[in-house]
Assembly symmetry: C2
DNA sequence: CTCTTATCTGAATAATTGTTCATATATTTA
DNA sequence: TAAATATATGAACAATTATTCAGATAAGAG
């Protein structure tokens, strides 16, 4: 027999309706990407304009290296895309989802 | 003189338009809360129904203690609220912002 | 070709964080 | 009052992660 459940029926019903662990994990992963100050700064900056690594380093007061690392993470998460022009790599937001997510997070933060 | 900037005007313009560090930090904090599998499971479960600690522990296959810790974090972040009825504490989502954020994150995760 | 510049990368470090375990608090029941 | 139950809490531990530093690529300039 299982543990005593206070609201057995309700709890089992909810458990049956739960999304798959894989999907829930992926959802958490998306949010994790947004959950870092440096990356949020990058996202907000890219919301304003396409920018290269050293621009972003200047804008966010970070090192080129730190920004490059974070851009790799953002790119792997398919939140930004890049194009190369000579020595310079230009980054921009991949789609409107990113902007929507940012804006709703922003609204919530305002309501603190 | 400052560092050489590749796109001096553009970078300075964007930097001037940046949100305050405090606000950007708060935005990142909101997302950080969503960026954990256990908490995402809790949020999704509470989207379906008001639930108590042990219900959530059962639903998420976690210990009561782990859930209690996470609920404290969610409550401090003003994402959930609680009411006490005897020995039992019932948790629910605080507002629709939480649901909206979850759903957009969900959409993006689907598009992987 | 050589030098400089822009970006990237890997390893090391420091800091943060989620879970567990033991225990505490609060409330109901016997 | 004493026992049982639901939840909360603090410390310790393990795992993850962001940054730095040194150095590696890649591309243009001289």
């Amino acid at each position: 027999m299982g543990k005593d459940l206070i609201h057995e029926n309700l709890a089992k019903q909810v458990k049956n309706k739960m999304l798959s662990d894989d999907l829930l994990f992926d959802i958490a992963e998306v949010f994790k990407i947004f959950g870092d100050s440096t990356r949020i700064k990058i996202i907000y900056a890219l919301k304003l304009s396409e920018l290269c690594v050293s621009d972003l380093a200047f804008i966010t007061n970070s090192s080129d290296s730190a920004i490059s690392h974070q851009l790799r993470i953002l790119k792997q998460a398919k939140l930004v895309k890049s194009r190369k022009e000579g020595k310079v790599v230009y980054y921009s937001l991949k789609d409107d989802h990113v902007i929507k997510l940012f804006e709703i997070g922003c609204e919530h933060a305002h309501e603190l």
